[in-house]
Assembly symmetry: C2
Homo-oligomer: 492 residues x 2
């Protein structure tokens, strides 16, 4: 299938429901769509380019959101809510910013039957509206730093869309902070980068490479953009989050000034940063296998699914035992689901919950009840263990920890295996048209050269990784000396 | 001031910051605006009719949201996220529905530089988009009930706006459920009404009257609308939430059908229900006093504020004692703020945190440190108590419980005092142009009569209260017999 097909264009020919998942090795893109729909993470809608996030997908987002939100609050950030509409004149105040976003803006032109005097942008990002308020709130050094985050919906009028990864409307958090000095703004930008890294690696089990974006890939209006790049199961990169040092560009455009301790009126320094629901796509593509989803225990909607096995004394003994197991695990703080439906067989349920990526399955049948045990099966390697009931909470805890760690290790190993040092352009091209993955190569720093590489290979510079020096020798594409080590990849 | 002035129209003449609060008794409307701005709950924005919810106001919303969300999840509802844009043709499928909402819709007509083939409504409510997906997901009786809730932003193009109570954009939750039978749909509608009542009374300390809306006040497209009506400090009513039994109207318009256990294909029954950020306005107006906000402990952003008193050994002993008190209370699960700013006096801080409605203040000075105690002051009656440090967690818990209960009792008492049984129309008019409040009166059931009452007195029927019978005698306005007991009030 085409690499950048519009998944919504295919909708009219899609069946209402998906019954089987295309194997990952056969067609990665089809596998991805099948999982989204079959596992009920999301679905098509009658609105072009807009998806619905179904309860199972939304629970995954809620769990992820809550864990990131706790980290942001622990570092002094507070949530707020700003208007979704941005008057056109306001959006135009920062020149590079509007140039970058104008082509993607959805415009509201009428309210009820009345045409508006000035049309309103549906926020493609909120710097303009937020900075216009910060210019009113920030008066003195005492008001700084100002550390505000917002969880909101965003609209960008994309031509080509894909479930979670690129949709006209999506959900995100956007932090917007104001600082007294350049150094504090840079420290904040990097603090957030580190919070994101820890969140992605510890909670989502997705290893990332951090570094600077090149000039042509940085945020419209930023001084510097830092990024976190993850590798998906097909060897493509996914930009998992960005943190921007905006310098004084927005402070000057929106007049954010403060009286400093030396009584001088100064322009402030601002940052902004965000991650989006595309991380749900990353979870699917970083961890899934031919059986379906595989979800990291820390964010999985259900960490344990209990399947009672039909047979003798089902209602009198097996079902009550399953319920009491559910109660015990719930009381211990686990997220547990009991699948007691009678219209499906245990085998069907095993497949179903493997497909939906539940980390641990607990089976309990008549013989297990007699022996005071249950069978625990982990999602990744399907290892089985017969565990006495009173040891189940401890064993589940150990299994979830172990699974969380192995998922990360496996993804890290894969990223390492798919990262190649390349110095000649022919090899570069072969890799990009073959196995893909990350290529570490020298780059001259010239954006024309960067563009040529993209035109010829469809690979882009994902980042200039932090703390890495330029390799000796010349740029991978031209004869000029390498100024930077760059990581190239084809990206979502 | 005018009763329904547009607060945003006044913006250009408003100062950037508010320093003093107008007394409540002097000008309730001005008092309300002053509190919103001075307590930093919200502020004006450059977008007509749209407010910003500042961190202190948003924390209040988050706490409220989380407590309601937990109740909805405990009763089997799951969250999801549906597109914000609704194609015009979809919105038009249910005739009464579009008629009710079309005048308030904001329309997106352009994406980037391209005019759209079909314009898109920014959701004024989501029945249309959600039902269009339900028609795809619901196939069999096994899929029912379908119990989904969404937390989202909503846009209604209002002419006249007021902080929190009526803004072009606001936040809410909207539940949308599908059931196999009429009875189950009605049970769900009433179950939600009861969840809302408990949430408002137990968590927000706001007593409510529940009942049916009259035909002219019900939701556009509904069979029946149940409402919860609260009383504000100026004797006006505020509609605090609604729960709609939609009958089969939307199921028929959007073709939501299922194969029942008897193999027959049947139209389903649906409900929808919501509460919004206007509840934050209700919190201000139900509980505030001349000093400012008064927040119920269960949802207050900070339950305790600690003010260390300057003096001898401040840095060596008082501040560390304050910090250790903060740690102790935080560890016990309280939401605590330590105001250690040195540029403000204790007296200034007392006023500040009373104004911001913090339930309990803890003062600790050099003498208190010596005695191993702190001074606790509660926000409502300003009673002081000297409490040994090791008893503070228990005492704070008791104070918060007591305060939560007294706030509810006081509001309940006020609502009772301001509710009058009236049978003659002259008295009715005098009350509505005087003290206002709720009037319980007989009503003939005729909507012309209802409209006449509104035109003449500006009072509307808030609800036909549950479980109350029509009074003997005639309608309060006409000579026809009273069919219902109705509660009338001027409303926000």
């Amino acid at each position: 299938m085409a690499e950048n097909e519009d998944l919504y264009a295919a909708q009219s020919s899609e069946p209402d429901t998906v019954t089987e998942i295309t194997p990952k090795s056969e067609d990665f893109s089809r596998w991805y769509i099948d999982i989204v729909r079959r596992a009920e993470l999301g679905d098509y809608t009658p609105v072009r380019g807009c998806m619905v996030i179904r309860p199972y997908g939304y629970a995954l987002w809620e769990n992820s959101r809550d864990r990131l939100d706790a980290r942001l609050k622990a570092t002094g950030h507070q949530n707020a809510y700003f208007p979704m509409f941005i008057p056109e004149s306001l959006l135009k105040k920062e020149a590079e910013h509007v140039e970058g976003f104008a082509p993607e803006v959805a415009w509201v032109t009428h309210g009820g039957d009345e045409p508006l005097e000035e049309r309103l942008a549906v926020r493609p990002t909120s710097e303009a509206i937020i900075c216009s308020l910060y210019s009113k709130w920030v008066k003195s050094w005492r008001d700084l730093p100002l550390l505000i985050n917002q969880w909101a919906n965003i609209v960008r009028w994309e031509k080509v869309t894909k479930f979670f990864l690129r949709t006209l409307e999506f959900l995100w958090q956007e932090g917007h902070t104001v600082h007294a000095t350049e150094q504090e703004a840079e420290e904040e930008t990097l603090r957030i980068l580190e919070i994101y890294r820890d969140f992605m690696e510890s909670d989502l089990a997705i290893p990332v490479i951090t570094g600077l974006k090149s000039e042509s890939e940085k945020f419209a209006g930023a001084l510097r953009t830092y990024t976190l790049e993850a590798m998906m199961g097909d060897g493509r990169a996914l930009q998992a989050g960005t943190s921007h040092n905006l310098g004084q560009n927005f402070a000057k455009a929106f007049n954010i000034r403060f009286e400093d301790q030396d009584q001088q009126l100064k322009y402030a320094w601002t940052t902004s940063w965000g991650v989006t629901t595309r991380l749900m796509g990353a979870l699917i593509m970083a961890h899934g296998d031919d059986k379906g989803l595989m979800l990291p225990p820390k964010v999985a909607p259900y960490q344990v699914v209990i399947v009672p096995i039909p047979g003798k004394h089902f209602t009198e003994s097996v079902l009550p035992a399953a319920r009491s197991l559910q109660d015990m695990l719930t009381a211990e703080g686990f997220r547990v689901h009991l699948d007691a439906r009678e219209e499906y067989t245990p085998g069907w349920k095993y497949n179903e919950w493997e497909l939906r990526g539940v980390p641990v399955r607990a089976e309990i049948g008549p013989r297990d009840v007699g022996k005071g045990q249950a069978v625990l099966v982990r999602r990744d390697n399907r290892e089985k263990a017969f565990v006495p009931l009173d040891q189940i909470p401890d064993e589940v805890r150990a299994l979830l920890d172990s699974l969380q760690q192995s998922m990360y290790d496996r993804a890290k190993q894969f990223m390492g295996d798919q990262t190649r040092q390349v110095s000649d352009y022919e090899t570069f091209g072969e890799i990009m048209s073959g196995p893909r993955g990350f290529i570490e190569a020298g780059w001259c720093g010239d954006s024309d050269c960067e563009n040529t590489i993209q035109e010829e290979t469809r690979a882009t510079i994902r980042c200039l990784p932090s703390g890495r020096e330029a390799p000796a020798g010349s740029c991978v594409r031209c004869d000029n000396p390498a100024k930077h080590l760059a990581i190239f990849a084809k990206a979502y």
